[in-house]
């Protein structure tokens, strides 16, 4: 380790991160100049619709996008070190060690032919260089940590033997086994039933607090984001269009897209209540309009919107909005 960042510097600092995929249809810009900071122990909720760049952001932080077909520019600094410059050795420690990820579908995170205990133990042994027995002790510890009942027996179970909620807990245990600095969560509760979803969300919230672990939580569900996030970033067509505290953004969104997203999220509406939908549909990333990507669907669009991409305007207190129209927060 060469650089030691000062304790009040953000744990993670992303600047102008752009990701372009080379496809048979041409270059597709999946992320366009994304910048954000993540403080120690903070939960950042990334919300947006399919194709907005939420998952690509997580995958580029973990450096797991296919190198051959991806061009990544910008900067990702974790604890003062540039992640985009990492070589094979650094990456092996980075992935699953400093930064761990949980997914929507736990059956894809686990190998079906090894027991839960074996897989967690192996991860700990590889990253921490401890003995198998020590690794297994840690595996038991993390299964207890995620409140899996009779954890000792569960160590020797195969993934398919667990129920959906238990499997999700086991995957969280696997991610936490090497005490990551950052947990990346990609829609981890989306496939779960309502009564199980709230259990997993509350578990993640408790663990995050207990362990002081910074978390980026990707979801399309505004309700889940409200339950877990300290701060929220709203993405649209590969750009962050609004950031702020969860209460600010979700209660008084400023960007026209964020407002539209909140308005089209049905919550507590009764039969016959009017619902507001955003007209049109999300843009094709390969054929983005010049200027603001939301302009074709926006109700308050002006000349300037079609001329140039709006830069993020700082509204103070960590609140920023990428919109040229004179939006007032919560107006």
């Amino acid at each position: 380790m060469t650089t030691v960042a000062s304790p009040d510097a953000p744990l993670l600092s992303v600047r102008d991160l752009s990701v372009t995929f080379r496809t048979p249809r041409g270059a597709v810009p999946a992320l366009d100049a994304v910048s954000f900071d993540l403080a120690r122990g903070e939960v950042l909720g990334l919300i947006g619709e399919s194709g907005s760049g939420k998952s690509v952001t997580l995958r580029s932080l973990l450096r797991i996008l296919p190198a051959k077909r991806t061009t990544t520019t910008g900067s990702i600094r974790l604890d003062g070190r540039e992640v985009l410059d990492f070589g094979a050795r650094d990456l092996a420690r980075h992935r699953g060690g400093d930064v761990a990820m949980i997914f929507q579908e736990p059956m894809l995170a686990f190998d079906p032919v090894f027991t839960i205990g074996h897989q967690i133990t192996e991860t700990v042994v590889r990253h921490k260089g401890v003995s198998w027995a020590e690794g297994r002790a840690r595996a038991l510890e993390v299964l207890d940590l995620v409140r899996i009942p009779s954890a000792k027996l569960r160590l020797d179970e195969y993934p398919h033997r667990l129920s959906g909620g238990m499997r999700q807990r086991a995957m969280i245990a696997l991610a936490l086994s090497c005490s990551p600095k950052i947990l990346l969560a990609d829609e981890p509760t989306t496939a779960l039933d309502a009564t199980v979803q709230i259990q997993v969300v509350l578990l993640l919230r408790e663990l995050q607090r207990e362990l002081g672990m910074a978390t980026i939580f990707v979801t399309h569900d505004v309700g889940v984001a409200a339950e877990i996030s300290d701060r929220v970033a709203v993405m649209y067509a590969g750009r962050i269009v609004e950031t702020g505290t969860a209460a600010e953004v979700l209660k008084a969104p400023a960007h026209p897209y964020a407002r539209g997203l909140l308005a089209s999220t049905i919550h507590g509406a009764k039969r016959g209540d009017a619902i507001t939908a955003i007209p049109g549909m999300p843009p094709d990333l390969a054929r983005l309009p010049p200027g603001c990507a939301f302009a074709p669907r926006c109700g308050s669009v002006g000349e300037a919107c079609r001329a140039a991409k709006p830069a993020a305007r700082d509204l103070g207190g960590g609140r920023a909005v990428a919109c040229v129209v004179g939006v007032e927060a919560g107006a």
Partner: protein
């Protein structure tokens, strides 16, 4: 909306529907009681929302009503008349009941243009090609897809939201009385979901359609439904007018389900999970009330006898069609008539 008098004839009535699947593995046959004793009625032009978690039997109920699988027991009455088992009767029945599935791509033939997909059903039922085409174009236009641009396209050239509009147009081309919507908007992005829900509500008002709306999203169900039915492990645990059920749920399971909904307010977060564990499997379901092992209010009688559907008994409850299958709610438990915890 005021509650009109109970209509003499339901568009759809289901009485005592039951289906058990037999699962064979390792030489052992196990019975999966997917649906047990399900009864409900839906008035013409209204929406019954069906909610519940994995394994509760909501999709099996839809498939039984649709005639895709045979029930072990029970009757399905369409406009007061029982549906026969003969081929001609089933064919007529299938025209009158249509379904829109969750996976918009898998439910369209990839080799047919969307126009051909919409024309296919009516033509099987004796509509001329010219008339079927006119109907397809009119419906495409009605669901918001310009026929001049979209009629000749293939499903893969459309977005998920557009494909689901095609599936709705295809269902309506059969001029059905009842449309079963099984998680039809669940895979769509929120901004598109709101558009499609608005379309469904408009179409219902225009054509007097009766909807069975199945969804795991309780907010959406509340918005679209006149009545809501809650299922747990193959049984109906509660049914009633949507607003009564959401404002004063009577079954402990319904109360837990509603309390599990995220708050959408970062300053009023959910503090504790209402129930622990996963919904159990419908193989060998618990005796008596199937929810009793997870219910905080369970008494000895709950494990012993299956509770009958009946009006909840309590102070604040309304005199309406609200019915619950709970021994405690029938005995006037303290929570009856009160809001979700």
């Amino acid at each position: 909306m005021t509650e009109p008098a109970r209509p003499p004839e339901a568009a759809l009535e289901v009485v005592g529907l039951a289906k058990t699947f037999h699962q064979r593995s390792g030489g052992v046959t196990r019975a999966v009681q997917a649906v047990t004793d399900v009864s409900f009625r839906v008035a013409p032009g209204r929406t019954l929302g069906i909610v519940g978690e994995s394994g509760c039997g909501k999709s099996t109920t839809a498939r039984l009503v649709m005639g895709l699988i045979e029930p072990d027991r029970g009757d399905i009455l369409l406009a007061g008349r029982e549906v026969g088992r003969r081929a001609a009767e089933l064919k007529a029945f299938r025209r009158r009941v249509q379904m829109v599935f969750q996976d918009s791509a898998a439910s369209l033939n990839p080799r047919l243009t969307i126009e051909a997909s919409i024309m296919f059903g009516p033509m099987v039922h004796g509509v001329s090609r010219a008339e079927a085409k006119t109907r397809a174009h009119r419906l495409l236009d009605r669901v918001g897809l310009d026929p001049a641009r979209f009629a000749g396209r293939y499903p893969h050239e459309l977005s998920g939201g557009q494909r689901q509009r095609v599936n709705i147009a295809r269902a309506l081309a059969m001029e059905p009385e009842i449309v079963i919507l099984d998680e039809s908007v669940s895979a769509l992005d929120k901004s598109i979901e709101a558009q499609v829900l608005g379309l469904l509500a408009d179409l219902q008002a225009e054509m007097g359609l009766t909807y069975l709306f199945i969804s795991h999203d309780l907010n959406v169900v509340r918005w679209i439904s006149d009545e809501v039915m809650v299922m747990y492990l193959g049984r109906v645990v509660e049914i009633g007018p949507a607003e009564t059920l959401f404002a004063a749920p009577a079954h402990p399971y319904t109360r837990a389900l509603l309390a599990s909904m995220p708050s959408l307010d970062p300053e009023a977060r959910t503090l504790a999970a209402p129930i622990s564990g996963d919904p159990p499997s419908p193989i060998d379901p618990p005796s008596g009330c199937r929810f009793h092992p997870r219910c905080v209010h369970a008494a000895a009688t709950c494990a012993a006898t299956v509770p009958e559907m009946g009006p909840p008994v309590g102070e604040g409850r309304l005199e309406d069609q609200h019915r619950v299958a709970c021994h405690m709610a029938a005995a006037g438990a303290a929570w009856v008539g009160g809001p979700t915890p």
